[in-house]
Amino acid sequence: MFSPKKMRRSPVSRTRGFDPAESPQVRRIIFTAALVVGLAFSALLGRLWYLQLLQGEHFREQSENNRIRLVDVPPRRGLIFDAKGRLLADNRPAFTLAAVPEDVPDWEQLGRRLQSLVGITPEDIQRARRAARSQPPFKPIRLRSHLDREQLALLETFRYELPGVKVLVEYRRAYLNPLPAAHVVGYLGEINQRELEKVPRSLYRMGDFVGRYGLEASRERVLHGRRGAKQVEVDALGRELAVLQELEAKPGHDLVLSIDLDLQLAAAKALGEEAGGVAALNPKTGEVYCLYSSPSFDQNSFITGLSAAEWETLSKDEKHPLKDRAISGAYPPGSTYKIITAAAGLAEGVITPETTFFCSGEIPFGRRTYKCWAYKKGGHGSVNLHKALRESCDVYFYRVGMRLGVERLAKYARAFGLGRPTGVPLPHEAKGTVPDGKWKRQRFGEPWQDGETLSLAIGQGFTQATPLQLARMVAVVANRGRLVTPTLVKKVIPPGAAEPVPEPPGLSSKVPVDPKHLEIIHQGLVAVVNEPGGTARRARLPGIQVAGKTGTAQVVSLAFFKSFGKEENVPWRFRDHALFVAYAPAEDPTIAVAVVVEHGGHGGSDAAPIAHAVLEAYFGLDKLDQAGKEAKEKTTAAAQAGGAARETAGRAPVSGDSGAH
């Protein structure tokens, strides 16, 4: 069957004649191995003999008195400060009543004593005993957290009647200005089993808190710190007698944010009950000064534990307080998008600043008529770019959009940072939408309709952007051509370090629009706020020139909107979104801001005042206002002081005193 040659290659024939049992070499090796095995097992048995029989008595005694325990020392979580050094997230001691199961001689009796002292119910005791079954008996079981001073005093007094009871001092996160900065700072939650399996055991234990939202989550690594441990000796009642050894915990790093609490408060106050988002940043560096989402929530309730009812109200609220609208609310940009249409038109050469179109209040296109918002007044008449921006003429931008086409519009929208995350260091950022032909085919399986380009050109239709994206977009005009990356953390302070470590600045990219063209748009935006006929006259500040653009984004079709008759009759969720983007001081901007008020009505009347409030806070004018009201006759002086503030190059806050001059 096989050729002889093949036979020779087969393993059997090659080793024929070799029999391990016959080979003296193999015998020697196997006997050596047997010797090694014998010696190893003898060593193990000898050791067993030594430990159990010679030293047995000693170890038996040690095991009976084994009262040396290893206790975790959790690290102090890093603190979070605002730009002016005000504490946003602190750690405060919280007192928790706990029992060490193996040191409790009689649960019933303990339960009765604790009931009379601090109102622990038999059910609490039952729950604790159930919990005790699934963990080591020397691990304290929590009976009640957040004890008050009076309860603490009582427990201390009757300490000797309460064997096994322990008061744990635990540092818990405390948010000092919870509502205005809730979304940015975020909150913590207890680590769960799944997450525990993914991290090294040296870093996290059951019961540890980890960042769940906001910077607490995105900067978890630096904030958390490293746990320590100590070896303690306990007595028969489980009380700590002495610390034998301690490995100190390494605290987390502190963060100093670029966020300014004053601006957060101003935004919160201005938005009031409205739902919406505010983003403000430095147009040159991308440092974010304000990132507020309304309605907000109290982060502290996540630390003390939300009740089922509280969670229900938070999560079922029609206005979704837990959603960070400033970075994950995506809205049609409305007329604020005309900045992009204008820039694209100039950059692509389809218009010049002198190009004029005639606005009769509407233009026919295809089978539809596209209206200008001013069609009731009979339109804007002859319009050039400056006037079109100032008065937000829709017809002008329809024309520009028709000349550009959807693909070129999309290209510039992307260059201005729409359609992708800004890179702000927060979780859950939305990327928004920049529609084009390809997108439409993928999304709806239909080709792009030319009429849709018209809607697109005035920021209606499929385009969606977040407030932070819009702030960044208007910053491109403010800084004449750079798209910045928003940053939130200014400095990181390592534990025990004398010098904080400044964070690297965010990167920026060049937008392919000639600065000369952006200068023309800038003039238009100044006109929006400052010239008669501008749509955002309410955004003016005393002594500081503001540039901006209003926007009103339709939520439902115009026909449906009209079906409710008067505007006041339209249900909240069908009303238009109000938008406003701005920067100031116009000649050398140090802040760019974007405001979206959900279903808020109109950009000029509803969003601009909110931006105004934030800018006022930024320039320190709100304090002047107060001083001004207190001394009514000196209101003009306040405006002058505002002018002085501008001369001191913007950021320096002007105190109320200077307003009283």
Binding site: V37, R47, L51, E64, K198
Partner: protein
Amino acid sequence: MIDRRLITSFDWLLLGLLFLLAAAGAVNLYSAASSFGGEGAPVFLKQLYWFGIGLVSMLAVAMIGYQRLDFLAYGIYGLVVIALVAVLLWGKVVGGSQRWLALGPAVVQPSEMARFAVILVLAHYFHHRDQDEPYTLRQLIIPLALVLIPAVLILKQPDLGTAMMVIIVGASVILVNGVRLTSLGLAAGSVMGVMPLAWGFLKDYQKRRIFSFLDPEADPLGAAYHLIQSKIAVGSGQFWGKGFLAGTQSQLHFLPEQHTDFAFSVLAEEWGFVGGLVVLLLLAAVVYRGLLHALRAKDRLGMLVVAGAVASIFWPTVINAGMVLGLFPVVGIPLPFISYGGSSMLTTMTTIGLIQGVAMRRYVFHRH
């Protein structure tokens, strides 16, 4: 028709030893994990279930026979190396290291298979070179590479214990095959030289464990705490032990990892010197049965395959028991049959299948 001699030559005594060990392990796990109110099936049942799967795997490997596996040696080895690379690229991260690979619904740990593949590939290599004289260092370059490739990949996961086992088992096969004494000396010297390099590969926690073994007083809070508590547990067992379910060290959770790495200290605490002695003797008996079959094997291939299988039972036993008794540093290597662990049980039983395969064929000549 299966040759009758295949069945009569099967090592029934060895099989009996395995049953005794599995029973001892399960009884001990019942106690070691009794004070945890975990969810799912109790650990001791899972261990028995894995023993069952292991039996099937052992019989399968024994029936296939080592000569047929010899043809597949490079194929199996290649697959394991590919799987190890895949683990590094797409593996599941558990407890900070990447060891598991999800294949559809099943999760496999290729590093456990590495030992098996290395035994086969080395036996294959030496068998086909068929050289009687002891090997020189230069001749060992390829075998060493065959051992080190999977070992380094496992070390990268990082899984020091398993990587160490691959190296030790591989080295055992090479030694049993025969190495020239002068080469051995040279190799020992160069290993000493490489030590500082390997040190760089170790993770901080691994270094700390070694330090704490060398100087327990320096780190009483970390690994040394485990060593101290383990010694107290074993020692306090004395001659007869504290009794089933009555070990204070284990039931009160002073012992770390008491159902895996430190399962033997629970056993020694509750069953005393008597229990420890019995289990160690059972393990020694398995090893000696193995050595006997190595000697009886009728070709080099069989001898080497058995030697490797014996090494992969002997070394974990010595290292784990040594660690529990405070003779070695704390390394995460399970004690065969006693420590809980599905993949460790499966690998152990599969390698014993290699021994049985050789034992069954000691009087049978091939009909290739």
